[in-house]
């Protein structure tokens, strides 16, 4: 990004002489950058800087707020370390949800359907409920642990690979059918999980509920060593593929015309998305509308089609939303357990308003 900042003005300076010759408007104004005007470009960087500052403040707030020890002392850092886990979880979840939702929106050429709707949460619920159902309260601990975590990620990625592989390379090759099947599968799995939940004892159900509703304080730090690099690699690959994603946004035919292998790119992106979704869901449970909320806000803030700039904006927006909600709920309302619920309420309302205002999908 720093490179872009320095090269843009230089490129513009090269042109005025020829501009006068050809009688065109000043050529400095004629470039197909990420924003059509200087004003819009500045607006982006100012908002990004503002969000970055806010993120630093939230980071400090989470680590240092009501920390009884003086700042900088050994005790301060000891307490901060205890809180750092939640912070890292927030960073990872915000990263996974925002990047994967934006990428998913792009390759599917829609801005409504998010990965969650493809049956991810439902699969998670079935795995969790199934363990408690079959093994009782003891089962809830069975789906915890490092290998179980990796297994869960694997199951979820395999699930999406099967679904995408079958539907996209099969004779359908049609996104609408895939989404429809995804919704039906998601609904079916969800119903199956609910059926099992009906038959649980109250004690078992209680344990399960605590597990199913997204909670940052609920996440186990032992997973972070694995989910961090996994999410980082997947997100990094998506960011490196920004230019291709920009072309994918033009639709299949325009993308093929410009030399993109549309089907292969699509499957790779969807697999990376499923890795990130699996990491996020396994860490904090289902978050149906968080990705949607963050993606929609960041489209407005970034105001560009260029993913190189949309991605960082989305990540920061996600961190500020999730971290801010966690900080406020924890320190003002003493209810850090309900961050997921609040975000879902806000996100769900926003989703409804958006669909109603637009009047169509």
């Amino acid at each position: 990004m720093a490179e872009t900042l320095t090269t843009l003005p230089a490129r513009e300076e090269q042109r005025p002489a020829e501009a006068q010759l050809t009688g065109r408007p000043p050529v400095g104004e004629r470039s197909a950058g990420a924003w059509p005007t200087r004003f819009r470009r500045n607006r982006y960087w100012i908002i990004l800087a503002g969000l970055a500052l806010l993120s630093v403040a939230i980071t400090y707030g989470i680590l240092g707020w009501e920390n009884p020890m003086p700042f900088g002392s050994d005790g301060f850092w000891r307490i901060a370390k205890l809180r750092a886990t939640s912070l890292v979880v927030i960073i990872v979840v915000a990263f996974c949800q925002s990047i994967s939702t934006v990428a998913f929106h792009t390759v599917t050429n829609n801005r409504i359907i998010t990965p969650s709707i493809m049956g991810f949460e439902s699969l998670y619920r079935v795995v969790q409920t199934g363990a408690v159902f079959v093994l009782g309260v003891a089962g809830a601990t069975v789906v915890q642990g490092l290998w179980q975590f990796l297994g869960q990620v694997l199951v979820m990625v395999a699930f999406s690979a099967l679904l995408y592989g079958w539907l996209l390379t099969g004779r359908f090759g049609n996104l609408h059918i895939m989404l429809l099947v995804g919704i039906i599968l998601g609904g079916g799995l969800g119903a199956f999980a609910t059926l099992m939940q009906r038959m649980l004892s109250p004690a078992e159900f209680d344990v399960l509920t605590a597990r199913l509703i997204g909670s940052i304080s609920n996440a186990d730090a032992t997973y972070l060593g694995f989910s961090l690099p996994m999410a980082g690699v997947a997100g990094g690959l998506l960011w490196l593929g920004s230019q291709r994603l920009n072309v994918m946004a033009l639709g299949r035919e325009a993308a093929v015309n410009l030399g993109i292998n549309h089907r292969r790119t699509m499957i790779i992106v969807l697999l990376l998305v499923s890795v990130m979704m699996a990491v996020s869901t396994s860490l904090v449970g289902p978050m149906t509308f968080f990705g949607f909320l963050v993606a929609m806000i960041s489209y407005q803030l970034a105001d560009t089609h260029d993913h190189r700039f949309t991605f960082p904006m989305a990540w920061l927006t996600g961190f500020v939303t999730l971290g801010g909600a966690y900080f406020v709920l924890k320190n003002i309302f003493y209810a850090q357990g309900s961050v997921g619920i609040i975000i879902e309420i806000v996100g769900g309302t926003f989703f409804l308003l958006y669909v109603l205002r637009k009047g169509r999908l």
């Binding site: 490129r11 090269q14 042109r15 065109r24 408007p25 050529v27 004629r30 470039s31 197909a32 950058g33 990420a34 059509p36 005007t37 050429n109 920004s242 230019q243 291709r244 920009n246 072309v247 946004a249 033009l250 639709g251 299949r252 035919e253 325009a254 093929v256 015309n257 410009l258 030399g259 993109i260 292998n261 489209y299 105001d303 560009t304 089609h305």
Partner: protein, 251 residues
Amino acid sequence: MIDLTSVAKSYSSEVTIGPVDLQIPAGGITAMVGPNGAGKSTLLTMVGRLLGMDTGTIEVAGYDVVSTRSKDLAKIVSILRQENHFVTRLTVRQLVGFGRFPHSGGRLTPIDEEKVSESIDFLGLQDLEKRYLDELSGGQRQRAYVAMVLAQDTDYLLLDEPLNNLDMRHSVQMMQHLRRAARELNRTVVIVLHDINFAGHYADHICAMKNGRVEHFGTPAEIMTPEVLSSIFETPVDVVEGPRGRLAVYY
């Protein structure tokens, strides 16, 4: 040269395209005409590798469109379809900039920007280049997409009804632009047209299709006859000598 050898595609037992054997010479404008459902657009999309065929081979400038890497083909042949999904936060200039993607991989060099400017000026979009696509009329957007494939700088240009949504003045300008591109820049333009008179006036070759097959291929003088046109379009067509050349009259 675009070379089609026994190309066929079937949707069902009744609806089949081909087998088509056709050679479209390099240079000049070749217009594809025919009634609805004749297979003009299908054939064009198969040449542009947007649609696979069941049997046969298609070669563009000696490159097989199935086996050649899509990335390499994007520098040889470009195709524009009728309907395009458009991104709302995209300006005309950014869209045209995408035409340089096969050459630049997304990072536009000053040379790319120059090509983009040329292409925008070529289609008279200078004043619109900073407008977002959703702020444009259908015809303006259509011209922006044509500017994009022109910026792609390919020897072969396939356009599926580019005159859709264009008014009289812009239709004529578009055809003049394309003829200029064909003559001055030595491009090969293959274009699906609905108005036979546009084809008769601007094209160098006309390919007349009907029921999934190529019925006639020739110069406008050979195709613009009452017999050929009446049989192709299954409606009585008269051809008269107008002040600017032959005109098909079918109203």
